[in-house]
Structures are given as C-alpha cells and as structure tokens.
Symmetry: C2
Subunit: 658 residues, 2 copies
C-alpha cells in the first residue's frame, strides 16, 4: 500500500483512502463489506417522513423552528401577507424602480386588456377590471417580485372557447357573463385549494414540451382569430381551428374585407414589429416595444377621429363602460345547472392559469435567486381570482410578456403591480371615453405582435434534439390546438405526458455491465465499449424501483438478457454463464410484487443452474429483502456491497468447462 500514498501531498489522507481498493486490502481472501441494514424506524416516523417528503418537500416551516409563540404568529401572518415583510424595508430607491416598471407595464396592459377581453367574448371593460383588482390582491399576498398580473391571451381564449360551448355569448349575454364569473370563482378556489393541500406538484404533470406545443398552438389560433379585426370581416366563424378560420377568411375575400382597415392594421403591425425588433437588438431599448402599443392606440385613434374612417367601414371600439368594477357577487351561480359547468370550466382554466403563473414565477425567481414557495403562490393566485370573480373580473394570471418587461424595467417588489393597478384605476375612472374611436384593427395588431413570441420554435428544435418523445407531445399539443381546439390540444398534451410517465414506470431500463480496464468500476458496455465482460458471470443493472407495474417485465427482461448471453457464449465456446449478478444501486424501492418477481427469477435461474447474486441494494430494499425473508432464502452471503466484491466472490467458484 505504501507505494501508492507515499508521495508527499497536501491531501495525503484523502488520496490514500481513495487509493485503497476493495478486494485486496486484506490479502488473499477478499474482505467483504456487509450490506448495511438501516436502523428500523417506527411506523409513525416512517409515515411522517413520507408525508413530509411528498407535501412539504420545500420545508415551508423552516423559519418557524425554534421561535417563540408570538414570533410564530407574526411569522405566520407575514407568510400569508408577504407585503408586511417586504413593506417594512421598502425604500425610495425601490419605489423608483417599481414606479417606472409599473408605468411601463400599465401602458402595455391597457391596450392588451381591451383586446384579450374580446378573446373571452366579454366587453372590453372586463379586461381592464381584471387588471385592477387582481394585481392589488396579488401585491399583498404574492411573493414573486417580478410577475405582472392581469388577463392573458391563452387563458382568455381558453375561457372564451369553453364558455362559448355552454352559453351563446351574443344571444345570451347575461348568462354568459354569470357563467364567466362562476368559472373564475372556481378557478380561484381550485388554485387556492391546490395550494392549501400542498398539491401544487400536480401541475408538474404537464410537461415542458407539452406546454411549449400548447402555447405555440394557442398563439397561432389567437393570431388567426385576429384576422377578423385585422381584415375588417363582419361574418366570422365561431370555431377556432385553422381550417374553419381560413375558410371564413377566404370566403369573405371578395366582399368582406375592408381595405381601409387593412391599411391601418398593417401599418401599425409593421410599427409594432419594428419596435419589437429594436427592443430585441438592444436590451437598453426594452421600453420601445413596451410603449409602442399605447402609442399605436393613441395615434390610430386620433387618425380615425380626424378622418372619420369609421364611416368607411373601419370597425371601432365604440364604447367602454366608464367607472370602477361593479360587484358581481350575486351573479355567481351557486346552485342550478350552471354550477357544475362553471366548476368544470373553472378547474381547467384555473390549472392552465396556474401553469403559466408558476412557470413565470420560477423563471424570474431563479434569475434573481430568491426562493418561491409554489404552494403559497397558488394560494395568493387563488385568493386574487376569488376576489376577482366577485368584482367583475375574469381569470387573471401572470403574463409572460408583461412580466419580462416588468423585470427589464427594473421592478423591485410586487409594488409595480400596485402602480399598474392605480394607472388602470385612473383609466377606468377618466379615460375610457377616449377609446371610442380606437380601431379594432389596432387591437388585433397588438394582440398578434404580443402572442407571436409564444411560438417558441427554438425550444421546439431543442426538444427535438434532446428527446423525441417530448417532441411528439409538443407537436401533438400544437396540432391539436391548431387543427381541432384548445381543449383537444390540452387533452392531447396531458395524455401524452401521462403516457410517458406510464412508459417510464412499466419499462425501466436494464443494462449489461462490464469492467472498465484498470479499475474496479463496472459500467454499461454499450456506453463504454472498452468495458469487458467477466467470463462466466453476467452482470445486469436494473435502473428503477421494482414495483408491481414493472416487476414482471424486469424479471422477464433479465431472463432474456441471460438467454441472449448464453447463446453468444455458446457460439464463442466461452465459459458457460454460472452467475448472474443483479446490480441494484438504482433500485430505490421494491414492493411485494417485486419480491415475488425476484423469487421467481431465483427459481428460474436455479433450474438453469445459474446462481443469483445481488449487489448494493439500497436501504429500503435491503430492509424489505430481510422482512420478506428473501435475503435468507437467497443466502445472505450472496448480497454484496459492490459489483466488484460480487465478482470477486463468483470468479473463484466458476466450474471448469467440460
């Protein structure tokens, strides 16, 4: 040994310890390490640990530890209303950042709100209402510093589509609005309940790839919907799929298009896209695309007012109700047929809104490196939508585009949402009459330029490169939305995501291991072609917990490896396989079905005169192997700490070939 660690080295000890190897340090007979059996926990502790890992993985009560009672109360109140904690350290510098950011996102949100309300088949003021109350509630309860709250394109479209299939928004305005508030109420309840029950991880079941596809498809659908306002078409389909829309557009080409509208829309769309380009080229000019929409609205409104283009068929906003949000508590359906429908729609819209807000929150939290409690966020978002549903708002959430602007404008706290809210309040109180002559084509152009960024083709390419299955989910969601409807797209996205999970648990990977030359390390021979098989021994690694969902597959797959290997060995006149080592490092857990599968494997191997040997079972597995008596059944001397030790045990015992 001394020849190895002998050289002077500042990390001598570590090195020397590394230098020693497993099977040699005790001379001839390899010293075999016992596989550790963890101390038995009592049932309650075990249960407690599982619950904690499942629902409190982020350890939200960490700060409450070792505090006095009154301090705990204060901390608890602060946890629900984070404004109390950041408000105390609020400073003028922070306010400056929030003010600028708030004004910028307000200028962006006002024209967007008016347009998005239309996607939800609601009057324009409802979009503004939803940018007034929810941001205030969020600022008090939310903990993201960068998210910009308000109506967003995809949720507006989803809500509009779902509601429309229940109530006609044109002939039955009152019921439609009531159902919209009902859905918003239950969206909020869904979000809050998921947060309170700490089931936030459920939204993780919509994979990133599926979201990329869904968002892209929704963006295309929304942009296509804008062709109505953009081309000045009066008769337009209610369906959202690309075929119906293009049919609608083309069939009205001869008499339904309005060239004045197109000219106005196209020129301002060009302006908006140019502003976007500038903002992208130089991040310093991020405010250019941020205020471009408002400028477009002002310019085009003045233009239409001066030229009276509305008399030449250019559709205008006409009327936005003046004044603050009226109460809508009594409009929510708490009984009757619509209750169930509102509930169902609310769950779907609430989940999608949550997905978007969570993604935004996480992204910016990781950029500024602060912790965000996903479940607490859900409670805040839920509370804001519940209050919103009672004050004539529809489902609000975090907006991708406005949050990015908020971030770049230098927001410091959720205070920027308060500033934005105040601006929207002033608009509602005093400025709505000014939007009378705003042409619809401008709103269409603003929406198109806003949603176009949601088509994240770069992400799609990356997904293609990394994971083909993910790409299928992505494209499935995309084409589902574009060619069928948002609901179908969503359904496809969720189904494919689930299929992937099922595939993962039913078909775990297995690999044959070989020895990397000059080491005691055994690795997948497909990954390391230089790794060599040990004659007479087959080493297989199982790469997953062995549960009922895969136990049978694992058993049969191992037997098939053995058959393949026996055939190969026979062809090459090599030593017959006499030992099968199952490397269990990645097997984190095993259940009753798994134990049965091992027993069956053992019996099948016995009939073929092959011995089963296990290497490195983890703490839970070794515990269960003992409780189920499989360890004794197999022979405890056949369970080793490492593959190397198992090989050292097998090799000298190999029978000579006849």
């Amino acid at each position: 040994m001394s020849s190895m660690g002998g050289s002077a080295d500042e990390n001598l000890e570590t090195k020397e310890m590394d230098a020693r190897s497993v099977s040699s340090s005790h001379g001839q007979e390899p010293y075999v390490h016992k596989v550790g059996i963890p101390p038995r926990q009592n049932l309650f502790k075990e249960f407690q640990a599982t619950v904690k890992e499942t629902f409190f993985a982020d350890d939200p009560l960490r700060s409450f530890k070792d505090q006095t009672k009154s301090r705990k109360l204060i901390l608890g109140i602060e946890a629900i209303f984070p404004i109390l904690s950041w408000g105390r350290n609020y400073s003028l510098t922070k306010f400056r950042g929030d003010l600028i950011a708030g004004l910028t996102i307000a200028s962006l949100c006002i024209p967007q709100d008016i347009g998005y309300a239309k996607l939800a088949n609601l009057d324009p003021q409802y979009g503004l209402y939803s940018s007034f109350v929810p941001p205030l509630i969020y600022a008090v309860m939310g903990s993201s510093r960068d998210i910009a709250i308000g109506p967003v394109a995809v949720v507006s479209l989803l809500l509009g589509t779902l509601l429309q299939s229940e109530v006609d928004p044109v002939t039955n305005v009152v019921d439609y609005q009531r159902l919209a508030f009902t859905a918003t109420f239950f969206a909020g309840i869904t979000q809050a309940v998921l947060g309170i029950l700490r089931l936030g991880f459920l939204i993780d079941f919509l994979s990133h790839a599926a979201i990329v596809g869904f968002m892209g498809g929704a963006a295309i659908t929304i942009a296509l919907q804008q062709l109505k306002g953009f081309l000045g078409i009066v008769k337009f389909t209610k369906k959202t799929d690309v075929i119906s829309v293009m049919h609608s557009v083309l069939s009205s080409a001869h008499h339904g298009w309005n060239w004045q509208t197109i000219v106005i829309g196209a020129s301002f769309l060009a302006f908006l896209m140019f502003a976007k380009y500038i903002g992208k080229k130089n991040p310093k000019f991020f405010w250019v695309p941020a205020i471009a929409p408002l400028i477009s609205v002002i310019l085009s409104t003045i233009f239409v007012y001066l030229t009276r283009a509305d008399k030449h068929g250019v559709a205008i906003v006409k009327h936005i109700e003046k004044g603050l949000n009226p109460s809508s508590v009594k409009q929510i359906y708490f009984t009757g047929n619509y209750l169930g429908k509102g509930f169902r729609i609310g769950i779907v819209a609430g989940m999608i809104a949550l997905t978007e807000a969570t993604a935004i929150g996480r992204t910016f939290a990781s950029m500024k490196d602060y912790q965000l409690d996903g479940n607490k966020e859900m409670v805040a978002l839920g509370a804001m939508n519940v209050v919103g549903s009672m004050t004539s708002c529809y489902v609000a959430t975090g907006s991708f585009s406005r949050s990015a602007v908020n971030f770049m404008a230098g927001c410091e706290t959720a205070g920027s949402n308060i500033v934005m809210s105040i601006v929207v309040f002033l608009t509602l109180q005093f400025l709505t009459p000014l939007f009378k002559y705003t042409p619809n084509a401008i709103l269409a152009a603003i929406i198109i330029s806003a949603v176009i960024n949601l088509v994240d083709y770069k992400a799609a390419i990356l997904i293609w490169k990394i994971d083909k299955f993910d790409f299928v989910a992505c494209m499935g969601a995309f084409f589902g939305v574009v060619f069928a409807s948002v609901e179908i797209g969503l359904l496809i996205a969720v189904s494919i995501s689930f299929a992937k999970i099922l595939l993962q648990v039913t078909r775990p990977r297995t690999a044959i291991l070989g020895k990397i030359p000059r080491t005691t390390v055994y690795r997948n021979i497909l990954q390391y072609p230089e790794a060599t098989r040990v004659p007479g021994v087959l080493i297989i690694r199982v790469d997953s917990a062995i549960y009922f969902s895969n136990s049978n597959y694992v058993k049969e797959r191992i037997l098939r490896w053995l058959m393949d290997e026996e055939e190969r060995v026979k062809g090459d006149y090599q030593t017959r396989i006499q030992f099968l080592i199952v490397e269990m490092s990645p097997v984190t857990d095993i259940d009753t079905s798994g134990i049965h599968a091992l027993e069956e494997l053992f019996r099948s191997l016995q009939k073929r005169d092959v011995q089963l040997v296990l290497a490195n079972p983890g703490p839970i597995v070794i515990d269960k192997l003992h409780t189920s008596n499989f360890a004794a059944f197999l022979g405890e001397d056949k369970i080793f700490l490492t593959v190397a030790e198992a090989v050292a045990y097998c090799s000298p015992k190999l029978a000579e070939d006849p």
Copy 2:
C-alpha cells in the same frame, strides 16, 4: 502494485485488475477516465429499439429468426394454435395425466358452475355452457398447460353486479341475458385487442396488493351472498355490501330462516371443510377436496329426493335446461342503447378476468419453468370469450382453485381442459335432470368453501410487513368491496395503485453519500453509518430519471440538502461546502425539463459559490447533456466516471477556510 496481486492465485488476472484502484494508478495526478458517449444511433433505429422494448420485450419473434418462408408460415400457424405443436408429441403417458386431471376438475367444476351462474343472476345451465365451449377453444389456442378454464366466482359476481345495475334480471330476463352475452362478447374483444396490440402490460397496473384486497373482499361478499341459500331466506337484498346483507339476514331471522335447510347446508359445509383440511394436511390426498363437492351434491340430492325435504321449505334447483349450448349470436346487441352499456361492462369484466387468468398462467409457468407469452395468452382468452358469447356462455377465465387441482392431479397439457369439456358435454346431454332435487344450500356451501381460500390473510400480513403503502391499497380495495360494492372496491384499488405510481415519479428519492472506510465506494450515509462525509464536498445521489414530473422537485431537494448541510457545517466550524457532486448513476434518462432544472441548479449554486460536479451520467443522459450543450456550459472536465474521481478532483481545489 505488485505487492497486492503477487500471491499465486488461479484467478490472478481478475484479482489484480480488481486490485488496482481509480485515482492512484498514474502517480501524483489522478488518471481520469472519460465518461463514454455512446455512438449516435439514427432516429429510425432509436425509435425501433424503443418500440421493441415497449411492446416486444419478450421477443416473441425469436424463433422466427433465420427460417425459410414456408417454415415461418408453419411456425406462425403453430404460434396461433399451440395444440399443433404439443399435439404432435402427445403420448399415452401424457394422456393418462390429462385424463385423471380432467376428470378431477370436471367433478369440481360441475357443482361450482351451477352455483356461480347464480352469482351472475343467470340460470344454472349457463354456468355449464361456459365450462363446455371456452375450455375447448382455449385448449386449441392457449399455451398454459395448467390453467383450468370456466366461470369463476369473482368475475361472476362482478358481471352480475354490473349487469344488474342496468337491467333487472328478474323482471326483464331476456334483455338481461342479451346484455350478458353482449358484455361477454366485448370482454373477449377487449382481451384479444390488448393481446394483438401487445398492450398486455396494462393489466400490470393493478398491483398485487390491490388484487389481494379485491379478491379477499369479493370472497367475503360472495360468501355473504350465499347466506340466502344457506339459511333458506326467500326475501333477500340485491345489494352486496355487508351492511345491507346483514340487515337482510337479521331481519328475516324470526320467520325467514328454514332450519331444515340450515341443517343440510351446515353438515355438508362441515364435510367440505374437513375434506379441504385433509387435502391441505397431506398433498397426496389433493383429490379429496376435489371430489367432495360432487359427492355432497349426490348425497344431498338423494337425501332430499328420499325425504322430499323440498316440501318442507328446502329450496331446490328444480330445473336445468337439458341439451347443448344454443346459439346466441343474434342475441348480442350490436346497435342501440345497450351496445354502449355492454361495451363498458365487457371492458371491466374482461380486464378482471384477464388479471386472474394471467396471474394463474404465470404462477404455474414459473413452477414448471416454461415460457408463457402473456400477449398470446390474451388473444386465446379473448377468442374463447368471443366464441363463448355466441354460444350462450358468459365470461370464462382461469379458476384459481381448479387450476391448482389440475396441477396437482398431474395434468400434462391443455388436454385436461378437453377432457373436462367432454364430461360437461355428457352432463348437459344426459345428466341435468338428476340435479332437480339438489338443494340450493349445498351449492351455497360449495361456493363458500371454494371462495374462502381467496381471503389470503397471510399475503396481507406479508404486505403489511413489506410495504405500508401497498397495505393501504390492499385494505382500501378490501373494505371498498365489502362495505360498498365490487365496482367501488375496484375503483379504489386502481386509484391507489395509480397514486403510488404518481408518487414514484414525482417524488424520487435522493440520498447523501459518504465514503465507506478503506474503499473508494460511496454509499448512502443513512444506510452505512460508518460512511464519512468528505469535508467541503457534498455528494448527493438522485435515484430516478429526471423528467418534467420531478425535475423541479429534484432541483429544490438538492438545494435543501445543501442548505441543511451548510447549517450543519457552520455549527461545527467545518470547511465550507464548495463542491456539490451529483451522483447520476441511477438517473437513466433526462428530458428537456430535467436539463432546465440542471441549468437552474447550476445558476443557484454559482450564486452561492458552490461548484456543480456530475458523476457517472448514463449513456442517454450524457448524450442529452451534450446535445443540449449543458455539458459544455458546465464544463466537460466537471463530469466524471465515478464519485471517487470527482472527489479526487474536488479535494485538492478546496479553498482554505478564513
């Protein structure tokens, strides 16, 4: 080095290679192995491999390889009709075994069939019909040598309950029968389609524990149902839950019980249980419990005939239709309202029947060590039920109790099913009038003694010991069946099984690793208390593929480990954590969300001045780390083959503490 491998040894080479260790073989500077990147496969090959692993894991086409065309055709026909292959080698010895086994299971099945038909609310002859045609079809197409085909208790009960909730079996006999055949038809179609599409693994989603609970609950329910016949009660509830049944039983205690019936039933039940006891005590007498039911039927029938006990209120079978199965092709609903209902019921009954047959097939195949192609079996079972539905049979499958008897009586091939089928044929043709005076109480006693074995309390105890979560599934299914209904129990079983899978994929385990003294092996410090942490380095193993469903959790969990560790280190005035090694051996795959999570982890660590180091990423993971450019982003020199090498890299770089 020579001092280690120097001793003369027959396995010198192996030993010497084992003896060398990772970081020392090249003097001062540790020699670092490159992490292998597997050769890139083209897309088609990759796709092909995935499909093969998913649907053809058992490699069913193995025998077709390298054969001539005509040989392939013959093999193909033999694959569909295995009788052609085993029939050719059929011998008189084999026939002797099959004959004895066939006669034994026939004597067992005839009384059971008559009773089970009642569970399905059908006339007794339908039970016999289902023991005539399906076993013949199975004998031709099936490949299990031990399974005994026919109606079984649990499926009969399930079918009866499901059908009863759609059509009243008493007032609307014709529609009820037609719906039963329709359900049987679709049960067969479901089974065959699952087999043809090679989706057989779907039935693995019902965990072993859930099945134990479900079967036990169903057995109790069935036994309780028999109280009607056993106590001679005329008015009996249609519900199956224990509360309704006990209420029914107790409320009729004063005037509804018939003591003559009870005496006959109880004495024969005692006889049957005693016969069972003898069979259990000495396996040589396995035939005692097997023929006891038929003897009971004969004795009790003679007794009732002689004493005319039926005139004293002892209910008797009265009439069994004589003659073979009539055609029922025209009775199956292919249109109308009942089509959908039959379809739905058929899927459920078909799946449960499949679960039972598959479990039996696997058990005996592993006991006699022959291969069974699960998907081919499903096609055989499906074909048999489709044909059955057209010949007045209801859903048949493999029976636990009769298959065990078949096995012990020495059956050699599926020929024993043919023998049984012929006996049932003779019974139907000539013997049915003899059952006229058979008391219902005997049938009740036979069913009770048959299903009592399904209450597998030993398995439940083992499940409790091995896996608490499994036990919850088991008990949930059990109490669901007993206190609510078979459907509710089934629903609970499936839901809990799914919840377990979801938990598995959302909350993978992570562990802190330490170095086992005198080795280069790093293991979970909770399992190996002697393992020591490396100062300044935190080593975390992630025990699952990193997918969208868990990527966020994995990231946050790693950061929480780090925070916990930093706190601990601070308290002990030890070296600050400067390196975080993620051991990725068990991480078999990673998707786009997983890569994002790693990027976020990297950034968070950077802000804390901790370096991220990866150890042993598998072939797919390393490939994806490269395609996504994360490997370059992290620095390829920070990816190591083993934890030991990673530690060897980190240790000398540790900054001195201030």
